[in-house]
Symmetry: C2
Subunit: 140 residues, 2 copies
DNA sequence: GCGCCAGTTGCAACTGGTTCGCAACTATTG
DNA sequence: CAATAGTTGCGAACCAGTTGCAACTGGCGC
């Protein structure tokens, strides 16, 4: 199923005139398998560990292309290197646990609506947005 | 009045064990006078233009200290160099006009409340957050 | 199947924003 | 005013990310 999804993706890429090279396939695999939000260096390490010969430069280039194809999303948190995640069909925001570094995803329609409303009030329309909550476990 | 405010600030810094040097005073002035959201290089240029002898390295160091004192806020938008603004008493979020690069400030209590609520639901408390709307003028 | 060639890759050198080591200064306190 | 801990300027270093270029390779066309 995950494999099937990957094949569908590869077809889509090919259709968009993007060659599916050994390196790109490897990265797609690594990203699909990741349940966390790794940065470029980490993805590179995992791809290499998986036996794929890929250079870091290519990882960066590939991430950019995959993003352009809408296959993955780039997350830029506070000063840390950019992280990446498989593009989910549904939009979601992020909550970053400052102690553990864990990234938790969430959505809230009410917030989405309010944002659009606020922008509209000022004569703007939202192209995209970023909402990050930097949090700590509340101890009580 | 702006001058008075600056003096109060300088006293506060001194009280916190932070020396008020010629360079820092100059930067405080430049930041207080700015109605936009300049980056370090721009602040440096303005300070120099105002006749203060300051190095870029010191600008960076000073910005960091002023931020630590809660006097200014650091804004990190999409890939651009960090921008800075005088810390306002009231928290606000930002809307970035993708065409003009203009930064518009706004607040909305409803969003603030919802954020706190969502975090609480998951057992977290918000340390700080970031909400940025990347927008374009809606033409109709 | 096979060759062609635009698209891709690896490497190393480069960039741009930001930080750091260190010796020379300087705001404060006594 | 002297002592001294905090600051500064400089250039070198850093770090994530990008790029030029020569060598490679998917995937279409035959």
């Amino acid at each position: 199923m995950s494999k099937e999804r990957r094949n569908r993706l590869e077809q889509a890429l090919r259709g968009a005139g993007v060659r599916v090279t050994r390196q790109r396939a490897a990265l797609l695999g690594v990203i699909a398998a990741a349940s966390d939000h790794p940065d470029a260096a980490e993805l590179h390490a995992r791809a290499v560990a998986a036996g794929a010969g890929v250079s870091l430069a290519t990882v960066y280039r590939t991430l950019t292309t995959l993003q352009a194809q809408g296959v993955i999303d780039k997350l830029e948190f506070q000063g840390e290197p950019a992280r990446w995640e498989a593009a989910d069909d549904a939009h979601h925001d992020h909550m970053i646990d400052l102690d553990s570094g864990a990234v938790i995803e969430f959505t809230d329609d009410r917030i989405e609506r309010l944002q659009a409303e606020i922008a509209a009030e000022m004569g703007y329309e939202i192209v995209h947005h970023r909402l990050e909550l930097y949090v700590r476990k509340s101890r009580d």
